[in-house]
């Protein structure tokens, strides 16, 4: 099993990652090796086994929906690469 260049490019596209040609080539080989290793999971019979998404016992994590103190806007904006009128500035969403 080896990932094709097209598969790697598709995954990179989904992950919003710009990769160099060298990286794409590397990942074809490296991701294939890791996925190959993971195929041993297929040998286990897991019919009737529920998936684990959390190791915690079920507990009520809900709380009252009340407003609290938030961090000041200027502090949050101070880490942004581009701001305008107290908001994050981004390039156009559509072409």
């Amino acid at each position: 099993m080896k990932l094709t260049l097209e598969e790697v490019e598709h995954i990179a596209d989904l992950a919003r990652l710009c990769l160099t040609d060298e990286e794409k080539e590397q990942y074809c080989y490296q991701l294939s090796a890791i996925l190959e290793y993971a195929t041993r999971l297929q040998t286990l019979d897991t019919s009737g086994i529920p998936p684990t998404s959390s190791v915690l016992p079920e507990h009520a994590a809900l709380r009252e929906d009340v407003s609290g103190q938030s961090l000041p806007v200027d502090v949050i904006l101070s880490n942004a690469p581009s701001i305008e009128k107290n908001q994050f500035r981004i390039p156009p969403v559509f072409e």
């Binding site: 995954i11 998936p51 949050i76 101070s78 880490n79 690469p81 390039p91």
Partner: protein, 493 residues
């Protein structure tokens, strides 16, 4: 001649400051001197805050002086104590890079809850320690700021991902440092550097302010020299936090380890799957010797089985990257981090992320995205979550028979710099004995039990059932009362 301040235990440091034998300023300055001397060779720190730390020390000294004058000695438990924090954990007003270029200029507006508990108790953060980029690594070599070197032999890695914190504590730059553990990132570097490290139960210490990697696996803990110190800081850090819905509202045990621990009748399970061919012979021997010491102190030792151990690695390396691929979507050049200017939003995302992330982070994002993608989800991520259930059940069944599981932390002692950097799978295999605890959510405690033939530290790992950290601390404390491995100090060569 009196003991140099940096070689004191935390108890001795606090007692000295309370009595006025020395000041917090002297203690913080001694740590900063040690850092200045040793860090050029070890590179344990990414960011230092010396002026701020000394200023806080002066404040602490003023409180101590006033308390001595009035006789009112009810002062915060850690007042004036210097500590370091892994650069994956936020401290308000301090840079938090996560070992990545993509957060190079990020100043955290808030402190992690566990850090805040320590600050409230009077601790002083002297700096932020090196880490594999976003904690993705087992050697601290994937940091965008360069690797950390092992204080016992600088040609070797300190382990990872919390390698900076482990090296800083081992080299006596600070008496304690915070770390995080998603697949072994506290226990393995503790073992490689010859220090004590606690990975708490999932849900015991708040993850608020711990930058997310694998949210169902991430935990925060601490490195120290002795088990007593680790238990002391753990108690302060732990507890329910409304800001982290995965913390459990259960009482934090008061752990009193000041007197000799009685471990008569403690049932210790030794899992046969952790003593396999291929592990370094001295590692197996030292761990077995340590188990023999616990046996001589009255513990019962029985062989147990955790039959799905061999599947932990493939399960982890599907689940953790899958969670990471979602968690790291937030680094897109909008709210923080450097931006690559492009004429369209999606192009800007791609370029900023392609430029800002290093190779291991990209590899795991790619792997996780693949495991979650249409057509592969059931075969990879879905199946991994089911096998995770089997691994968790292994532990539940084992803890019906025993109180503690004892085993090696890693298959070998610290390996050479560069030894595994070209082969990701070989690097992942380093985590084979630490991943199961994260998948099952159980606590793990690593501490030194001797050296190999190259005089590199060997660690043992004790695992317990959920929220039973106190049993691990008691067993390990009993061991440290009759042995001296935790007192060994590297010459930093």
């Amino acid at each position: 001649m009196t003991k140099p301040l940096i070689f004191m235990t935390i108890n001795e440091m606090i007692a000295g400051m309370r009595s006025g034998s020395f000041s917090s300023r002297e203690l913080v300055a001694a740590c900063l001197d040690r850092i200045q001397d040793a860090d050029p060779r070890l590179h344990a720190f990414i960011t230092l805050a010396p002026e701020q730390a000394l200023e806080q020390a002066d404040n602490a000294d003023a409180i101590y002086a006033k308390a001595r004058k009035t006789g009112q000695m009810e002062i915060p438990a850690l007042l004036g104590l210097p500590i370091a924090v892994k650069d994956l954990i936020t401290v308000a007003g301090m840079r938090c890079t996560c070992g990545s270029k993509i957060l190079d200029n990020f100043i955290s507006p808030f402190s992690a809850t566990a850090v805040q508990h320590l600050l409230d108790a009077g601790a002083i953060v002297v700096g932020k320690t090196n880490t594999d980029e976003f904690a993705m690594g087992s050697s601290t070599e994937t940091s965008a700021y360069g690797p950390t070197f092992n204080p016992w032999d600088v040609s070797r890695v300190p382990g990872g991902s919390s390698g900076g914190s482990a090296a800083a504590v081992a080299a006596r730059m600070v008496p304690a440092a915070l770390g995080s553990d998603t697949g072994g990132s506290i226990r393995q570097p503790a073992s490689f550097c010859g220090v004590t490290g606690i990975k708490p139960t999932y849900g015991r210490v708040s993850r608020y302010g711990l930058v997310a990697y694998g949210s169902s696996l991430d935990t925060m803990g601490v490195f120290t020299h002795t088990v007593e110190e680790a238990a002391f800081l753990f108690e302060i850090m732990a507890g329910y936090d409304p800001r982290d819905a995965t913390t459990m509202n259960v009482p934090v045990p008061q752990i009193n380890l000041t007197s000799d621990q009685d471990i008569k009748g403690l049932r210790i399970g030794v899992p046969k799957e952790y003593f396999i061919e291929g592990i370094q012979a001295e590692v197996g021997q030292r761990v077995k010797e340590a188990i023999e010491v616990l046996h001589s102190l009255g513990a019962e030792v029985v062989e147990i089985s955790l039959p799905h151990t061999e599947y932990a690695l493939p399960v982890y390396y599907l689940i953790a990257p899958a969670e990471a691929s979602a968690n790291l979507a937030r680094y897109d050049g909008v709210r923080f981090g450097p931006r690559e200017e492009e004429d369209q939003l999606i192009k800007m995302y791609r370029s900023s992320r392609g430029e800002g992330f290093g190779p291991e982070v990209k590899r795991r994002i790619m792997l996780g995205t693949y495991a979650l993608s249409a057509g592969y989800y059931d075969a990879y991520y879905g199946q991994a979550q089911k096998v995770r259930t089997l691994i968790k059940r292994d532990f539940e069944e084992a803890f019906e028979k025993v109180d503690v599981i004892a085993c090696p932390v890693a298959p070998s002692t610290a390996f050479k710099q560069g030894e595994h950097t070209g082969d990701p799978l070989a690097m992942y295999l380093e985590d084979v004995f630490t991943l199961p605890a994260n998948l099952a959510g159980v606590p793990g405690l690593a501490f030194p039990v001797g050296f190999d033939n190259a005089h590199m530290p060997v660690g043992i790992q004790l695992m317990g059932s959920h929220f039973k950290e106190d049993i691990l601390f008691k067993a390990a404390s009993a061991y440290q009362h009759v042995t001296g491995w935790h007192k060994e100090i590297p010459s930093i060569s």
